[in-house]
């Protein structure tokens, strides 16, 4: 049996989970890989914390388990990258800094396989790394970068190979889903639910990337590359977070038998890819509406095999580590025969404003008779059919109601809103909220 030696860079929540799995089921991993896998060394600036948390032997750590200065850690990394003994490097440091980018670049340049959970790096700066890997005949495993434990990367690359993927959608950020679930279940405002998420360890002190849709966007970019071979930048994606969702929106969702979810959505229409990340009104008969808390779910619609759902944990130590270890086993077993992503395609990324959905538009207006008719007429003037108009909530001199439309482009919805604002200045008390409805 051949041997494959592995270096682990970073031993926090995810890296520590990887080391723990190797400590506990290395023989089983070897049998599955048909290769003798050896976790050779770990570089970590604070080994004592990792040793205690994950019950690891100090001898695994460069420096023997003592605290390392950053420059010392860098020298150990240099040694490992220079060593012909190391076949595969696991990067669990995270972030998109030049330091981490250069590190991954050097791993591949040195002809070593790279396994990483770093979605931000691969989504924002991955093109160079993937191209270099192709050049060097080196493999990049990134199962752990998309939806933690859910094996969506291998499912697209290896399991749906007899099909054509029509669309991918899903709930890919556990923190925002946890917040929306609590808002929904306990009738909370956004701020209170965020506080609960932080108190319960589901949101970090700085939760921006989770809440503003950035993290979900990174995952969607990787899935678009996998499914269709197209490189998309964060600027291309039309991303809206959940910061502005309030209790009133949850009420309007209930009124149309829907739940608000932060949805990643990408669809191929006549060869063009449309994609967006934003809160959507997911109808209760769509499985995604029933995915609560920190769980992730991916829905894939295939041409031949229809609709699939994959549901699992989107984050966590063992959860993310499992995906990393399964990548190591796959690379060890299948080596150079494995492919990194789909073959690059010519760029056909479409304007998300042309993406057709039914929409729910929520209006805050002055409480003036005839308002509903005026607004409904303005929408009709754009050739948009109306499905329902909600119960109107009157409070003092203000009114609030929502309009559910039949399928339309976002562009037309915007045009209707502009016409309303132009023709009756002052009628709308705030910018209307516009959310797609997902059946």
């Amino acid at each position: 049996m051949k041997t494959m030696k592995i270096a682990l860079l970073g031993c926090g929540t995810v890296g520590g989970g990887v080391a723990r799995i190797f400590g506990e089921i290395n023989p089983e991993l070897n049998a599955r890989a048909n290769v003798s896998l050896v976790l050779d060394s770990i570089v970590e600036i604070n080994p004592p914390a990792a040793i205690e948390r994950f019950q690891l032997p100090a001898s695994l750590f460069c420096g023997g388990g003592r605290l390392l200065q950053p420059d010392e850690a860098s020298r150990y990394i240099d040694d490992l990258l220079a060593s012909p003994e190391i076949d595969l490097v696991v990067e669990t440091i995270g972030g998109t800094s030049d330091f981490v980018f250069d590190l991954c670049h050097r791993v591949i340049e040195a002809g070593k396989h790279l396994v990483t959970a770093n979605k931000a790096l691969l989504a924002e700066r991955g093109r160079t790394l993937f191209d270099l890997a192709e050049n060097k005949g080196v493999k990049i495993g990134f199962e752990a970068a998309v939806c933690g434990a859910i094996p969506i990367v291998k499912t697209i690359k290896e399991n749906f190979t007899g099909d054509k993927i029509l669309s991918i959608s899903g709930i890919m950020n556990g923190t925002s889903n946890y917040i929306l679930s609590r808002m929904q279940n306990e009738s909370l405002e956004f701020g209170a639910a965020l506080q609960l998420a932080q108190d319960n360890g589901y949101a970090e002190a700085d939760p921006s990337l989770d809440i503003n849709g950035g993290d979900a966007g990174h995952k969607l970019i990787l899935l678009i590359k996998l499914a269709w071979g197209i490189d998309v930048s964060m600027d291309d994606l039309s991303i809206i977070g959940i910061e502005n969702i309030g209790k009133e929106d949850i009420d309007f969702a209930n009124e149309i038998n829907a739940k608000i979810k932060l949805i990643c959505y990408a669809k191929k229409i006549n060869g063009d890819i449309y994609a967006t990340v934003r809160p959507m009104m997911v109808k209760n008969n769509n499985f995604l509406s029933q995915v609560n808390g920190a769980t992730n779910a991916v829905r894939v619609n295939n041409h031949y095999s229809g609709i699939h759902f994959l549901v699992g944990k989107g984050a966590g130590s063992g959860e993310t580590a499992m995906s990393i270890v399964s990548d190591i086993v796959f690379i060890a077993r299948y080596g150079e025969r494995m492919k990194n992503t789909a073959a690059p395609q010519e760029r056909i990324f479409a304007d998300a404003r042309q993406f057709v959905f039914p929409y729910l538009i929520t209006f805050h207006t002055a409480d003036v008779p005839g308002t509903t008719g005026f607004i409904a007429t303005a929408i009709g003037n754009q050739n948009i059919n109306i499905e329902t108009v909600s119960h109107n909530r009157h409070t003092g001199e203000k009114a609030m109601f929502s309009v559910a439309t039949m399928p339309s482009t976002f562009e037309k919805i915007e045009a209707a809103v502009e016409a309303i604002q132009r023709e009756r200045p002052g009628l709308l008390l705030s910018e209307p909220k516009i959310m797609p409805i997902l059946y």
Copy 2:
């Protein structure tokens, strides 16, 4: 690029779907396999029907597209098996007959890869075929044999390789799930729902294998072999079908916030495998309770990465064909490096009567005061705690109620029922129904 030539035996619903996919996306398949895949020839006794249904060229068929006599078809099959040109054979004839078994045996004996959707054959007579394949260095693809479009075979073999599988459960028979869903939603008795299933093409004229749990059992046997390397026979499994489920059971399920589903369940406890197929009361907060109609769902509980759900179509032409084509791509790409199943393990299959569940027991009794107390006492005498006792339905001189227990072995539940029957002969008007409750 290497070439791989494929022969297709049988061109009905599934085989025709395979031929159609090859006709439509062969270049994409080649790119994914990194091998030039050629569907060389099809043996089918009624080509005209297949040609019309799947829009296939007559030239693909042995005999040029005309009807074949069985002995003619056999000669064509002999020629293909003898031909060194053919690398892989897709068997979509089905059934467990000696004819099909011998055919598959000869395919492997001839050193050709075998891809099949034939769950009955592999579950009941697969051992010999898998052993021979190991011997010959030949691959058996059977993704399509378990839950149609759901890629659960590759998910266990290739995606969960960094984990330990603790349990597998799921809804693996679409026909019985369709019947139970209609009974549930429209308050129908079993017979009426079965008739609807037959009218709508969800059940065959002879639906026995779907309804008696046999088909689900075949799938569970294959998953147990995959996950833990253990060979189990149909006799080992404790299988109960849905024939005896009635409206009253659905009512009792509603009363404890559950839905009745035909559940496949296998769990590893202290190294022993417990497994069963039977109707269970699935609590509404378990995702499986929400899987309706002909959809299949598999729940995998992993040691490191927690609970996963895979949901998709369990049957159908394109659905099953997609899984077959993805097997062909995988075998072409990874060839001799692919493994067929988990390494065989020593047999540690446990007695399902020792399997611990909470149970719902439904009693039909004479309407005698003190009955509830007597029965509850008999259950308590077996050291089984009671969770709830249902509302008692009195009709004339009869009474009917159910008892939900805390977790217990099936053996103890049986002992309680025996004691009741022994101590008060005639009190029970029929054999109590005993169903596990799944949280």
